[in-house]
């Protein structure tokens, strides 16, 4: 049977011990870049790419590629 964290304290201990193994300063920046790219991707694809946005942009002469 697999070991199971028995208590909240043990879970918190696990979290304190395990993370941030790549200790470099670069790692947090890479994480932030990754998260930012997801957010930007969401806005570009899901918001600007939506039909509503196309209708609004259409008033300004924008025509989406087909």
């Amino acid at each position: 049977m697999m070991a199971r964290p028995d208590s909240m304290a043990q879970r918190n201990e696990n979290i304190r011990q395990e993370p941030s193994s790549p200790q470099s300063l670069l790692w947090p920046i890479l994480i932030e870049l990754w998260l930012s790219s997801i957010l930007i991707g969401f806005f570009v694809v899901r918001i600007l790419g939506s039909q509503t946005a196309h209708r609004i942009l259409g008033h300004f002469g924008y025509r989406p590629l087909r």
Partner: protein, 612 residues
């Protein structure tokens, strides 16, 4: 008042499922918590109630038999269930952290409850109208669960549809829609159970459930006759037990959940096979279980899955000629499927092939899946709105952090294998909702990791991702249900919607009201016969199913009307097509004519009908 029967019927089904489910409580591993037990009991109850209804329904499926089965379940152990529910505790400090996810879950459930009271509408392109609700309606009319030969999809495993029939019998046609609340709750409990097992706190489990509840793809699998949420819940229950199993009874229980999944959807067979592989690989990798004992225990799992899932496949084999019906092109070489010509089998497989390709089939398409599922879900069928941003944004970090954990390895391996199988077989996101749940669990773990490792801008970026993900998902869900919500609060809109969305509604209204209409011949395969409250005969189904040997021979069919006890004939015309019956057919009297619809009365049950 018109909503009360649906609510009471679902309450009875819920209590009965919980009662039947409580029978497994002694087989659950001792280390499992209260929420684990609640989730497992509810899902086991849904699986066992559906299977029992199906087995009894082979010989007796009336309101009385359904009521007796439900009462049996209720009598079985609500008391023990109350004791399980009382074990669920949350520490006061965590309650405060759980308010926001609880509000999100509450809002989604509120939409589901209110929208669940809407009457089903729509044409035959909707799966609910085409077969999920048609089967239950025909079974109730026939007084037993029999194959609906003009709609081959009603032969799918139907552990959930039998419960649609049960609530429909007691609460009317609105009741199956409301069943989505039970379905969604069962999955949310299971998600929380897995999250806690992964080592997340109570608030983490709440957030997992909130992310899951606000995923439009997951939500789509819960309502409108879809059964995928329950199927995925059963798959996750099997995983939850199998990865922590140590005794034969645990392996039996894991197999039982696989069996219920197999009895809910054909794809349950893959869940069983992949789970066996994962348990074996994990045991081999960690050398924790002796090989001989493990193989014996996996044999117990397989036997339980086989026995519990067997009734559906045996019925199909005996009555329809093929255990998997309609058969795949490969199986069609070995089994002769009744009521299906080779062309009909081809039509069905062509129809299914539409979902097979999804976003491509090459290795690059597989690697791009996380991005496509996140940013382009509308390109998949039934995936509008997607899975939100959190799995792609955070789950890689959660995977990284929990890489040494055996349970996490098992979940990740299962998710990978299941996704690969889904990618190869049929890419409708509804089929892998359980993978998205696993993704949400890793996402919440990764979220905590990111906040810990990148404390400067990490928390605000995480908050924005969660906010946009949940808000976008919730808005998509509300937009998808807005017509249902409107129909519930406005009787005039409900009527307007019924007229607009139900094809040939005038004919259905007339035939359902007309006392002399006892059995109706429906000539056009694409008529949504779900809306007929009377017995009907549709000689040719939408894939070309032939419920009669000479179904395609219209003159012969018309000469057989008296022998078939047909009282009325419904003939309709689709755009750019003609009516099937010529004007002035002898032996038939035109009794009603609406736009593109003609209803004939068969003049004499003893006479003959001729076509000019």
């Amino acid at each position: 008042m018109k909503f009360l029967p649906a609510a009471l019927a679902n309450l009875a089904a819920l209590c009965s499922a919980l009662g039947f489910g409580s029978l497994i409580r002694n087989k659950v591993p001792d280390s499992f918590s209260g929420i684990d037990r609640l989730a497992l009991i509810l899902l086991a109850g849904i699986g066992s109630l559906g299977t029992l209804l199906f087995c009894v329904g082979q010989v007796w499926f009336s309101r009385t038999s359904i009521l007796l089965i439900l009462l049996l379940g209720i009598s079985f152990g609500l008391k023990s269930l109350i004791s399980v529910a009382s074990q669920i505790r949350m520490k006061p400090p965590e309650l405060a952290q759980s308010v926001l996810p609880a509000v999100i879950i509450g809002a989604v459930l509120l939409v589901t409850i209110v929208g669940g009271f809407a009457e089903p509408t729509g044409d035959i392109r909707m799966d609910a109208i085409a077969y999920h609700l048609l089967g239950p309606k025909v079974w109730l009319q026939a007084g037993l669960i029999r194959p609906v030969t003009d709609e081959c999809m009603t032969a799918f495993p139907a552990a959930v549809e039998t419960q649609f029939a049960a609530v429909m019998a007691l609460g009317g046609q609105r009741a199956p829609q409301l069943f989505s609340v039970i379905a969604l709750c069962s999955l949310l409990f299971m998600s929380a159970s897995l999250a806690l097992r992964m080592g997340l706190s109570s608030s983490g489990a709440w957030w997992v459930s909130a992310l899951v509840a606000s995923m439009p793809v997951v939500y789509r699998g819960a309502y409108g006759g879809f059964i995928d949420v329950i199927y995925s819940g059963l798959a996750l229950a099997a995983i939850r037990i199998a990865f922590d199993a140590s005794k034969p009874r645990h392996y039996f229980l894991a197999g039982a959940f696989c069996g219920f999944a197999v009895g809910t959807k054909y794809f349950g067979i893959f869940v069983w096979a992949l789970l066996i592989i994962c348990v074996y690989v994990l045991a081999a990798r960690h050398k924790k279980r002796e090989a001989k004992g493990l193989l014996r225990n996996l044999g117990i799992t397989s036997a339980a899955a086989l026995i519990i899932g067997a009734p559906w496949y045996l019925r199909n084999w005996i009555e329809l000629g093929s255990p998997i019906y309609p058969p795949t092109p490969f199986l069609a070489h070995f089994f002769h499927a009744r009521y299906l010509s080779p062309l009909a089998i081809q039509n069905f497989n062509d129809f299914f092939a539409k979902v097979r390709d999804g976003m491509g089939r090459g290795p690059l398409a597989f690697l791009l899946l996380p991005f496509n599922l996140t940013f382009h879900p509308a390109n998949f069928m039934n995936g509008i709105g997607g899975i939100g941003l959190t799995p792609l944004a955070f789950a890689p970090f959660g995977l990284f952090q929990r890489r040494q954990d055996e349970f996490a390895q098992g979940l990740a391996l299962f998710a990978l294998l299941q996704t690969a199988a889904w990618f190869a077989i049929g890419q409708d996101p509804r089929y892998i909702i359980h993978v998205f749940i696993i993704g949400a669990i890793f996402a919440v773990y990764g979220w905590k990791y990111v906040v810990h490792v990148a404390p400067t801008r990490g928390p605000i970026l995480c908050a924005m991702i969660v906010l946009f993900s949940v808000a976008y998902g919730f808005c998509t869900i509300v937009l998808a249900r807005v017509n249902d919500l409107h129909a519930v609060i406005s009787a005039s809109y409900a009527e307007k919607r019924r007229v607009e969305e139900i094809p040939f509604v005038e004919s259905f209204d007339f035939l359902n009201r007309e006392p002399s209409a006892t059995k109706i011949l429906v000539l056009e395969p694409l008529v949504p016969v779900f809306y007929l409250d009377k017995e009907y005969l549709r000689p040719i189904g939408r894939f070309g199913e032939q419920s009669l040997p000479e179904a395609a021979n219209l003159p012969f069919l018309m000469s057989e009307l008296p022998r078939l006890h047909i009282s009325h004939v419904l003939d309709v015309k689709f755009p750019d097509k003609t009516f099937r019956l010529p004007d002035n057919s002898r032996g038939l009297t035109l009794v009603r004519q609406y736009e593109n619809q003609r209803i004939y009365r068969v003049n004499s049950l003893s006479g003959e009908v001729y076509l000019h």
